[in-house]
C-alpha cells in the first residue's frame, strides 16, 4: 500500500498473557465442571460412582447419547435442529429386530429372516435415508427444521408402535448384542478375573497419542506466533486429560476391559473432531451456520451442506438404534423415547451456539457425560426420575446462562 495512507495501528492493550489466560480458562471450564460433579457424586454415593462395574455401565448407557450428539452438533452448528432422533432410534431398532428375529410378510406366507451383519448395514442406510428425507424438506423445500423433524418424530414413533403392536421383539444373536454389551478381546490375560492388560495398554497408547498430537499442534502454534494457551495451562490440561483417560481405562481394565461400544464411540469422536477442526466440509458447515447468506455468496452449496448434516444425523441415529436394541436385547415401542431431549441438552451444555455457527466436539462429549453422570449418580442415590428431570432442567438452564453471561462480559 502507499506510504501516504498508512495510519498508526490501534494500540493493542493486554495482548500478552493476561487475556490469553482468560480466554483459554473459559474453554476448560466445562472439563473442570465435569470433574467437580464426578467428585461430588463419588462422595455422595460413597464411592459407588467410580466402581469399575458402574463406570462400565455408565459408558454403555451413555454411548448412544454421545454418538447422536456428534451428529446433532453438525445439525445445530448448521443452524437447524433435529427433534426426530429418538423416534428414529425406536424405528430403526424395530426394523432391525424384525429382520433378525424374522417375520411373515403381511398377506403372504413368505417368512423373512436376515443375518445380523447385513442388518447392521441396512439399518445404517435406513437411518441415512430417513435423514435424507427430512433433510430434503429442510434444505431444499425451506421448511423450518423444527417443523419437519417434529413431524418426523410423530411419524416414526407412530410407525414403530404399529409395527411392534405393543410387543417386545427379540432376543438377538450374541454377536449382535456384543455391539453394546461386549468387550474387546484380551490377548495377554485370558482369564476372566485377571487384570485386562490389553485394554490398559490400548488406553495408555491412546492417551500418549492424544498428548503427542496436541503437543505438536501447540509447539507449531508457538513457531507461527499464533495465540496459544500459556505453558502451565497447556500442561495442566493435558495432565488432567491423560489422568482421566488412564484412570477410566484402569478402572475398566480391572473389571472386564474396554467395552466394544466405547471403541466405536471413541473412533467416532476422533473422526468428527477431525472433521470439524481440519476439513473443508467441516469449515463450510460452520460458515453456513455463521452466516448462510455470506456462505452462499462465497460459492458454498449451502443447501447441500444442510441436507448432508441431516443425512449424517440419520446414520448416527440408526447406529444408536442398533446399540439400544442390542443393549435391551429386544426392540420395544418406547425405545429411544425422549432421547432427542438428552442429545440436544448435551449439545447446549457443551457450549454449542443455539443460533448456529459455533460448537466443539469435545464440548458436546463432555456435555453428554455431564448429563450421563448426573443421571447415573442421582439413580444410585435413589432420587426419583421426576426429580432427576427437574435437576437436569436447571442444570441445562444454568449452563447456557453461564455461557451467555460470560460472552456478554
Amino acid at each position: 500500500m502507499t506510504e501516504a495512507t498508512s495510519a498508526p495501528t490501534a494500540t493493542p492493550v493486554g495482548a500478552g498473557t493476561g487475556t490469553s489466560w482468560k480466554s483459554h480458562i473459559r474453554e476448560y471450564g466445562l472439563l473442570g465442571s465435569l470433574l467437580v460433579i464426578m467428585v461430588f457424586f463419588q462422595i455422595m454415593t460413597d464411592g459407588v460412582l467410580l466402581q469399575p462395574v458402574n463406570i462400565t455401565n455408565l459408558i454403555q448407557q451413555n454411548s448412544y447419547i454421545v454418538i447422536m450428539a456428534l451428529g446433532m452438533l453438525f445439525v445445530i452448528v448448521g443452524g437447524n435442529i433435529d427433534l426426530s432422533v429418538g423416534s428414529i432410534v425406536g424405528f430403526v431398532g424395530a426394523i432391525a429386530a424384525l429382520l433378525m428375529v424374522g417375520f411373515t410378510l403381511p398377506g403372504t406366507e413368505i417368512f423373512i429372516k436376515v443375518h445380523w451383519f447385513p442388518v447392521i448395514l441396512l439399518s445404517l442406510a435406513l437411518g441415512g435415508l430417513i435423514g435424507a428425507a427430512q433433510g430434503w424438506f429442510v434444505a431444499y423445500a425451506a421448511i423450518p427444521a423444527f417443523i419437519v423433524t417434529l413431524g418426523g418424530m410423530l411419524i416414526f414413533r407412530g410407525l414403530t408402535g404399529n409395527m411392534l403392536a405393543g410387543q417386545f421383539v427379540g432376543p438377538f444373536a450374541n454377536d449382535f448384542q456384543n455391539i453394546s454389551k461386549g468387550f474387546i478381546p484380551e490377548f495377554i490375560t485370558a482369564t476372566a478375573q485377571g487384570f485386562k492388560w490389553t485394554s490398559m495398554l490400548l488406553g495408555a497408547a491412546i492417551a500418549a497419542a492424544l498428548f503427542a498430537f496436541d503437543f505438536r499442534k501447540w509447539s507449531r502454534a508457538g513457531a507461527q506466533e499464533i495465540d496459544r494457551e500459556p505453558a502451565p495451562l497447556f500442561i495442566g490440561k493435558n495432565l488432567v486429560f491423560a489422568a482421566l483417560i488412564l484412570g477410566v481405562t484402569y478402572l475398566l481394565a480391572s473389571y472386564r476391559g474396554l467395552p466394544v461400544v466405547l471403541v466405536i464411540m471413541g473412533a467416532l469422536i476422533l473422526f468428527y473432531n477431525f472433521v470439524t477442526t481440519r476439513t473443508v466440509i467441516g469449515r463450510r458447515i460452520y460458515a453456513l451456520g455463521g452466516n448462510a447468506q455470506a456462505a452462499r455468496l462465497s460459492g458454498i452449496k449451502t443447501q447441500r451442506l444442510a441436507f448432508l448434516t441431516f443425512v449424517n444425523m440419520g446414520v448416527l441415529a440408526g447406529l444408536a438404534g442398533l446399540i439400544v436394541a442390542a443393549r435391551l436385547n429386544s426392540a420395544t415401542p418406547s425405545a429411544g423415547n425422549s432421547f432427542e431431549l438428552d442429545v440436544i441438552a448435551a449439545c447446549f451444555i457443551g457450549g454449542v451456539s443455539a443460533s448456529g455457527g459455533a460448537g466443539r466436539v469435545m464440548g458436546v462429549v463432555i456435555g453428554a457425560f455431564f448429563m450421563g453422570i448426573m443421571n447415573n449418580g442421582m439413580s444410585i442415590l435413589g432420587i426419583g426420575i421426576f426429580w432427576q428431570q427437574v435437576v437436569k432442567g436447571f442444570v441445562l438452564l444454568a449452563a447456557v446462562y453461564l455461557d451467555v453471561y460470560n460472552k456478554s462480559k
Binding site: A4, R283, G299
Partner: protein, 512 residues
C-alpha cells in the same frame, strides 16, 4: 456565542485489546450543528455510544456535562429522558409495523396500558408534516424507501422531545436528492433551536451544514474547527483527519487496456418474487483486460440486481442472455460455476452478505478458496495462516492479529477482509458493489489503490457506486444505468456528473 449544551471531558474507553478513546474532549453549543469527523476506527461511534448511555457510566472514564449538570447515564432510556436521541447508521425500525407504530414504539400514548391510537395517529400526522414526509401513518416501513425511513427515524426522535439529536452517518444509504433534503431539514431544525451532532464521511455535506467540526484521529481529539470564523474546505478537514495533506483523493492511474475479457449480451432478469416483472431489461456489458468500468445510476436502477444475477443467479429468476469470457461462452448459472469461470462479486452489504462476523479474519479470508489451503479436503493450518497474514499485510488490515473477530473491525477493515477473500480466489473479473460505502477517506484511497493494482495485473474490474466523483476518479469507462437498462456509455475522460445525470433524466423524458 451560545453556552455549551454538552461538554464531554477527558473521555477514555477501552475494549479488550484496543483503547478506543483516549482523553477525548467535545464541546457542543446550544443550537448549532456540530459535525464529528474522523477515519473509520477513529472512535466517533464509540464516543456517541458513551454519550447516549449505550456504554453505561462506569464503563468509561471522564465526565459528561449536559445542560449544566454532570450526568451519569446508565442506559439509553436515561439519556433519551433528557432529550438526547441517537439515530444509528443501521436504522432501528420494525419493518412490518406502520409508521405510527414505529414512531411511538416504547413511547405509546396510552391510558392504563391501552394505546390511544387516534392520538398516536394525529400526532404522527403532525410529526410527518414537520419532517416533510408525505406518507400515511398507516404505511408499513417495509413499503417505503430508505430515504423516507430516515425521516421516520427523525420524526420518532421529535416525538421523544429531542433537545440534542445525534445522527450517525445519516446519508450513507441515501441518494443525492434525499441527502440534500435531509440536510435542508437539519438546517430548518437548527433555525428552530435544535442542537445536532452529525457524524459523516461526506465532507461536502459537512462543509455545507456544520457550524463547528470536531476531528478525531485514533481515539483522540485533534481539534475543533469553528466554521463561523474560519473558511472551511474539504481539503482542510481531510488534512486534519489523516494528519497529512491529501493532494489527490484518487491514486494516479495509467490504464493498459487489452482485449475484451468478459461480456454479457442481452441480459434479462425477472424479479424473484414477481414472475414476469422484468428487473433487468436487456443489458449488454463488457469489460476489457486491465479496464475499470463503472456503473452509475440512482438507487433502484438495477445495478446490484444486474451484478448479482450475473454472479451465478444470486438474484432473480428466469435469467436469459449470453455470458462469455475471452470470447468463449461460459456457464454462470450457479455461484459455484460463476466463481469457477473467474467471476467475483463483492457485496455492498458486507455485514449481512460478506462476512461471517462471528468468525476471525483468517477463516473469512480462506472461505471462498478453501481448497486452496487444503489437501484432499483437509485444511492445512500453516498454509491458511500464511495466506491470511499475507493479505493482512498486503491490504493493511488493521487488527490485533488474524485471529481477531471480523465483528470488531471497523468498516474499512471489514471491507478489506471481504476483498482479501475474493483476491485469494484469484478471479479474472471483479464486480465491486459500493466498495467504499461507509468507509473513511484514507481507507478509500487504499481500496482505490487495490482496484488499480487489480486492473494493472490484467484483470477486469466493474465498480458500482452511488458516488459519482468516485466513478469519475477511478474508472476508464462508465455505463449509466436506469430502470433496468444501460441508457448511456461514455469514456471517463469525457464524463461528468452533469452528463451522467442528464443521461438518466433524458430517459425519463422519453418515457414520460
Amino acid at each position: 456565542m451560545e453556552d455549551p449544551i454538552l461538554e464531554m471531558r477527558g473521555i477514555s474507553k477501552s475494549f479488550p485489546g484496543v483503547k478506543a478513546l483516549k482523553n477525548v474532549n467535545l464541546v457542543v453549543r446550544a443550537g448549532e450543528i456540530h459535525a464529528i469527523c474522523g477515519e473509520n476506527g477513529a472512535g466517533k461511534s464509540t464516543l456517541m455510544k458513551v454519550l447516549s448511555g449505550v456504554y453505561p457510566y462506569g464503563s468509561y472514564e471522564g465526565d459528561i456535562v449536559y445542560q449544566g449538570e454532570e450526568r451519569r447515564f446508565s442506559s439509553i432510556s436515561d439519556s433519551e429522558h433528557l432529550g438526547v436521541i441517537i439515530i444509528h447508521q443501521e436504522l432501528a425500525l420494525v419493518p412490518l409495523l406502520s409508521i405510527a407504530e414505529n414512531i411511538f414504539l416504547g413511547n405509546e400514548p396510552s391510558r392504563m396500558g391501552v394505546i390511544d391510537w387516534s392520538e398516536a395517529f394525529s400526532r404522527t400526522r403532525d410529526l410527518l408534516k414537520k419532517v416533510g414526509l408525505n406518507e400515511s401513518p398507516n404505511a408499513l416501513i417495509t413499503n417505503i424507501g430508505v430515504g423516507k425511513q430516515q425521516l421516520v427515524e427523525i420524526a420518532k426522535a421529535l416525538a421523544k422531545r429531542v433537545k440534542l439529536l445525534i445522527l450517525d452517518e445519516p446519508t450513507a444509504s441515501l441518494n443525492e436528492t434525499d441527502s440534500a433534503a435531509l440536510l435542508d431539514l437539519l438546517l430548518e431544525f437548527k433555525r428552530q433551536g435544535l442542537t445536532c451532532i452529525i457524524i459523516s464521511h461526506k465532507l461536502n455535506e459537512i462543509a455545507r451544514v456544520a457550524d463547528s467540526i470536531t476531528i478525531l484521529r485514533d481515539g483522540s481529539t485533534v481539534e475543533t474547527i469553528d466554521c463561523r470564523t474560519e473558511e472551511i474546505s474539504e481539503g482542510r478537514i481531510i488534512k486534519s483527519m489523516v494528519g497529512r495533506e491529501m493532494s489527490d483523493r484518487y491514486p494516479p492511474r495509467e490504464p493498459k487496456i487489452g482485449e475484451t475479457l468478459f461480456e454479457v449480451r442481452d441480459w434479462q432478469v425477472e424479479h424473484p418474487q414477481h414472475p414476469g416483472r422484468k428487473v433487468i431489461k436487456g443489458v449488454d456489458l463488457k469489460v476489457r483486460a486491465g479496464e475499470v468500468v463503472g456503473i452509475a445510476g440512482l438507487m433502484g436502477s438495477g445495478r446490484t440486481e444486474l451484478a448479482m444475477s450475473i454472479f451465478g443467479g444470486a438474484y432473480g429468476r428466469n435469467i436469459t442472455g449470453q455470458a462469455s469470457m475471452r470470447g468463449q461462452p461460459v456457464d454462470v448459472s450457479s455461484i459455484q460455476k460463476a466463481v469457477g469461470a473467474g467471476l467475483a462479486y463483492v457485496t455492498e452489504d458486507r455485514k449481512a452478505l460478506g462476512l461471517i462476523l462471528n468468525d476471525d479474519i483468517k477463516h473469512n479470508i480462506s472461505l471462498v478458496n478453501l481448497p486452496g489451503v487444503a489437501k484432499a479436503g483437509v485444511i492445512d493450518d500453516a498454509t491458511e495462516t500464511h495466506v491470511a497474514n499475507r493479505y493482512r499485510k498486503q491490504l493493511n488490515i488493521r487488527s490485533s492479529s488474524i485471529l481477531q473477530k471480523t465483528l470488531n473491525l471497523s468498516g474499512g477493515n471489514q471491507q478489506k477482509v471481504v476483498l482479501s477473500k475474493w483476491l485469494f480466489a484469484d478471479p479474472q473479473v471483479l464486480m465491486l458493489d459500493e466498495p467504499t460505502r461507509g468507509i473513511d477517506v484514507g481507507a478509500k484511497y487504499e481500496i482505490y489503490t487495490i482496484i488499480n493494482e487489480l486492473a494493472a495485473s490484467g484483470r477486469g474490474v466493474i465498480v458500482i457506486s452511488s458516488e459519482m466523483p468516485e466513478l469519475l476518479g477511478i474508472c476508464d469507462r462508465i455505463y449509466v444505468m436506469n430502470e433496468g437498462r444501460f441508457v448511456d456509455e461514455m469514456p471517463a475522460s469525457e464524463a461528468s456528473q452533469e452528463k451522467i445525470m442528464a443521461a438518466i433524466m433524458r430517459q425519463y423524458r422519453v418515457t414520460a
